[in-house]
Symmetry: C2
Subunit: 282 residues, 2 copies
């Protein structure tokens, strides 16, 4: 089929590579002419343009712009769409997006491919980015069934593991396992930087190894993305942050009271529970 991709970054570019290799015709639009050139050179798209008009041939369009730009982008896109064109997005929050886009375009299937790399941009686009990773669709009661079926089939063809739930359920779950870890991890780095003794801080940077590297990784990630998680998933992120602070306070209280056995029991629970969150063993 003819598939449009609006926004040719890591996710849009990687979608293009896989969809073309599956035999679809991929039409890509970026605001940057240079990105269009790279996309064509790398074989990410069949045709690329900075003009939204290119997408009026598309039967289905992945909107892959940053969350903050999504509603205005779709607004500009509307004049070029056939009534039966299906829109889907790739944003990492869903309720705010559904509330913004569904009134503009009923044939919209909200989506969230949970795949990524440390890199961004068209240069980072890669084949098989989605294979084996979760891809969540969050249709509402009013989302047309044929549109859901169409996007579902495409997601499965990418080799992704499909999940379907409400936008609210999605946002609550990803607050726990994606957005909360960013804030927990950023707080770790921020706290270290508050160390008043510069010699201690210097020694800490010298001695830091894999434990610190892993625990601080997502807190040292893209600041704009971290901000978007908080801005567009504020209620759920706050909910998980406040529960997190309770758990932290419990551990602090145990250490203050020297309740070592109780602390060890808690650490046994976390050790036992963690594998449930890991789809593949380390």
């Amino acid at each position: 089929m003819k598939i449009g991709i609006l926004g040719l970054g890591l996710i849009g570019g990687s979608l293009g590579l896989d969809l073309r290799s599956l035999g679809h015709t991929v039409l890509g639009v970026s605001r940057q002419a240079k990105t269009c050139s790279i996309a064509q050179e790398r074989g990410v798209v069949d045709h690329a343009s900075i003009d939204l008009a290119l997408l009026n041939q598309a039967e289905l369009i992945f909107v892959c712009t940053p969350i903050a730009a999504l509603a205005s982008t779709v607004g500009h896109l509307l004049p070029y769409l056939h009534p039966d064109t299906i829109l889907t997005d790739v944003g990492s929050v869903k309720l705010a997006i559904v509330e913004a886009i569904a009134p503009l375009w009923p044939n919209f299937v909200p989506g969230h491919p949970m795949a990524g790399t440390a890199e961004t941009g068209i240069e980072a686009a890669q084949t098989q980015l989605f294979r084996g990773n979760p891809y969540v669709l969050t249709p509402t009661a009013t989302t047309p069934a044929p549109a859901i079926a169409q996007v579902t089939a495409l997601v499965k063809s990418l080799g992704a593991t499909l999940y379907q739930c409400s936008p609210q359920a999605h946002d609550r779950a990803v607050a726990w396992i994606s957005h909360l870890p960013v804030m927990v991890s950023a707080s770790l780095i921020a706290a270290c930087l508050q160390e008043p003794d510069s010699e201690t801080l210097k020694l800490a940077t010298q001695l830091a190894s894999s434990g610190f590297r892993d625990t601080s990784r997502v807190g040292g990630g893209n600041p704009e993305l971290g901000r978007m998680m908080a801005e567009y998933n504020q209620p759920e992120l706050l909910r998980s942050l406040l529960r997190y602070r309770q758990s932290l306070d419990q551990i602090i209280a145990q250490i203050q009271a020297q309740e070592w056995s109780t602390l060890e029991q808690l650490l046994q629970q976390t050790q036992q529970a963690r594998p449930e969150f890991l789809r593949t063993e380390e």
Copy 2:
């Protein structure tokens, strides 16, 4: 030289492999006869025994028992030592160990090799475990200079990066980059387990990917080790935990007040600061 290793787990076993390959004669003692057999089969030691008397031939002994057993182990070892035998340890806290061991044996050089794997025990012992990793020595004003020189030379021969500081400075720095991350990470897992809605928790476990895996890794580690960090480094760990809670509260307050630009600035700072803590780029 003749080197003793008391405690044949991951660290003791890995020391044996490297020290033998450097031409030293390695004498190993374990409480378990089976561990002694494995150590000999794997070439970790030249001779192994469950009898401490084996170590009376050693010129230098690495005491590699868990922190909780260290003082009593050294107490049992004393009758077998020559007056000029050098003792060194591998414990991950230093002040409590120095206060316990230095009065028993003046010729003691406190040490902390900052290397490890997810595995434990003699089976996990590997060559070159220490190469390129920090190895901290924390002698005091009364530690004999020849003993420091001897241990320093051995540590360098392992390819480790040597650091020397006071026990207090060590404990304060590792609280930041090793012990605090364990509690931060364990709190993340513990908080998720507090989610009252089982459907949300199930979806969260299904959607969790690399971000959650990395941030939760050290919090899902050895509970006994986590307890030891807290028990033997309580003041410094509490100091860093309370500063961490301040940083967390700052982020929570920014999200509550919808101060998105301020939050993004903070995330820019953590993104910029993190590479200072990483000796090798990811």
